[in-house]
């Protein structure tokens, strides 16, 4: 199972990325195009049926992968963009910056990510860009904490002292010794961040604070299907399953790096 984790994870990620990139090829219909076949049950023409506006659910789920990919990667990149430099500086230089950063990180981490994201989203309004920024903002402290801890441990190593002894400055040491040694852990945290962002954005959409319609996104699709659960349960279950599989894919991959 240990060995299998990253394999399963990477397969799920590959399937998800392929779905997002090749959406226009795979999807049988235009995800925005309505028809008169409203809330059709699954059939040979519409494998997952149609929604209340007669749009093909399968196509909408497939296109939903794009939204999730953008949010997942975008938010994780934002989180890294803030968290990695902050963690490196706090961990490597310590001192006043560290004394300022650590309580801030602790404060953020003490708040549940979803609730924080919810509050900020209400304030700034839900759209794709805001969602990416809000989720990145919610996630950077865990990145910073991880990077800080790793850097702190590395700073005391003899090989970093050796690098200082040959005259290497802070920038040189961070670039040549600290960064290469924490890259793996940061990559793992990146994957975990993607999974958190996709999961949380789906949760926000489900609560009605996600991507505004008509853009298909998985959380929103689950929410929309809710009203028609007795007529066509796949309307909710299909996007729910893709969220689960994708989040699991990134999480399994990320958590298997140690």
């Amino acid at each position: 199972m240990r060995r299998l984790r990253p394999v399963i994870g990477l397969l799920l990620i590959a399937a998800f990325v392929a779905m997002a990139l090749l959406a226009s090829v795979i999807a049988p219909y235009d995800p925005f195009k309505s028809s008169v076949e409203v809330i059709d049950p699954p059939s040979a023409r519409h494998l997952l049926g149609t929604d209340e506006l007669g749009r093909d659910i399968l196509s909408r789920v497939i296109y939903g992968a794009r939204t999730s990919l953008i949010i997942g990667l975008g938010a994780a990149i934002c989180a890294m963009g803030i968290g990695v430099p902050v963690g490196l500086v706090a961990g490597y230089f310590g001192g006043r910056v560290d004394m300022l950063v650590v309580p801030l990180i602790d404060l953020f981490i003490a708040l549940p990510g979803l609730v924080l994201a919810l509050i900020i989203t209400v304030m700034v309004g839900p759209n794709l860009l805001n969602l990416v920024l809000v989720l990145g903002f919610v996630m950077w402290p865990s990145v910073a904490r991880l990077v800080r801890g790793q850097t702190l441990a590395l700073r005391e190593t003899l090989y970093i002292e050796a690098a200082r002894a040959v005259g290497g400055g802070s920038a040189w040491i961070i670039r040549r010794h600290v960064w290469p040694n924490i890259m793996r852990v940061v990559a793992a945290q990146f994957a975990v961040s993607v999974s958190f962002a996709i999961f949380t954005s789906a949760s926000l959409s489900f609560l009605g604070l996600g991507i505004p319609p008509p853009t298909p996104d998985w959380g929103g699709l689950v929410r929309a299907g809710f009203d028609f659960l007795s007529l066509n349960p796949l309307m909710s279950l299909a996007p729910g399953a893709t969220v689960t599989a994708t989040v699991m894919g990134f999480y399994l991959t990320g958590s298997s790096v140690r």
Partner: protein, 324 residues
């Protein structure tokens, strides 16, 4: 020394670490790692620094390279106080003064190849900007330490302890330094390898005219290589003098005890072993007067009264003991 200025001069070096405690953190004491240590090293000279673990040897080594900042005292390199160096001057200083660490496993970055490790000092110091020339220099350095170009692409984990230490030495001499601090360079190696590394250091000293501060807890290891030996205990110099004199005729009771602990292969020549009672005292609260008195077989009441100064007992020899 030949009457000229020494290469390195250490004057009343002190490194005390502050201990803070209490609900509202305040200074409650000091770890007296190094107290008022003075010595000098001439060009091409090897000074052995001997002492038990916890005696402050490594701290002294780090201070003379300014890898840590001393609390007080001066370190003069070619007559210049290295404590006053700014970043740029310090970087230049590191071209002349280098270090070999005890632990060849921890001192090499596991992610780098041997070639990258040895060329790092050259890159940092911008000594061979041309990458072809730099590579040649790295190969030359590897050959100097009896490794070959086939090691270039290897990583530290693929090397034996002795090979790693050779890489550590190659890195240290890459910038063509005048002075090296060798901090327990052989202590973590097999006995069979220790001699090889000591011999390598001796070769380098001759070839490159290197001055070395050779730090070890083992007086035997440094005997062959060192011109002079300084014995430290609890961060203070107990005795300093030329190797032959100091080892054949130790003056300070602590030196005597250290030397008596060395096993002699010939039982007939074995002297009486002086066994020191107890452990090295806590450097936070060292004994008053002579710090060695609590374990000294020759201690008398007066030893507690005042710190004995390091006094010259014969030309080039000094000891800190009131009973001499």
């Amino acid at each position: 020394m030949n009457g000229t200025a020494p290469l390195l001069e250490v004057r009343r070096l002190r490194k005390w670490y502050e201990i803070k405690g209490g609900v509202i953190p305040h200074l409650i004491g000091h770890v007296q790692a190094v107290t008022d240590v003075s010595f000098s090293i001439g060009r091409g000279e090897v000074l052995g620094l001997a002492g038990e673990s916890g005696s402050g040897k490594t701290t002294i080594g780090r201070c003379v390279l300014r890898l840590i900042e001393p609390t007080s005292g001066e370190v003069l390199f070619e007559g210049e106080d290295i404590g006053t160096f700014g970043p740029e001057r310090l970087r230049k200083f590191r071209r002349h003064a280098q270090v070999v660490f005890q632990d060849p496993f921890g001192s090499l970055d596991p992610r780098m190849t041997v070639g990258e490790i040895v060329s790092e000092p050259l890159e940092v110091q911008k000594l061979f900007p041309n990458s072809k020339e730099r590579r040649d220099r790295v190969v030359e350095l590897l050959e100097t330490v009896a490794l070959s170009s086939e090691f270039l692409k290897r990583r530290p984990r693929e090397l034996s302890g002795g090979q790693r230490q050779r890489v550590g030495i190659a890195r240290a001499i890459a910038v063509n330094p005048m002075f090296i601090v060798a901090d327990e360079p052989v202590s973590s190696l097999d006995v069979s390898i220790q001699a090889q590394i000591v011999n390598l250091l001796e070769d380098l000293r001759e070839k490159l005219g290197l001055a070395i501060l050779f730090i070890s807890h083992d007086i035997v290891v440094m005997e062959h290589l060192s011109n002079r030996i300084a014995v430290v205990y609890l961060g203070r110099v107990m005795e300093i003098g030329p190797t032959d004199e100091l080892t054949s005729n130790p003056k300070h009771p602590y030196t005597e005890a250290l030397l008596s602990a060395v096993p002699d292969p010939d039982p007939a020549l074995r002297g009486k072993r002086i066994v020191l009672e107890g452990d090295i005292p806590n450097p936070v609260a060292p004994p008053s007067g002579c710090v060695f008195r609590t374990r000294c077989p020759r201690a008398i009441a007066e030893c507690a009264a005042a710190i004995p100064p390091l006094r010259e007992i014969s030309p080039g020899r000094a000891a800190a003991c009131i009973r001499l």
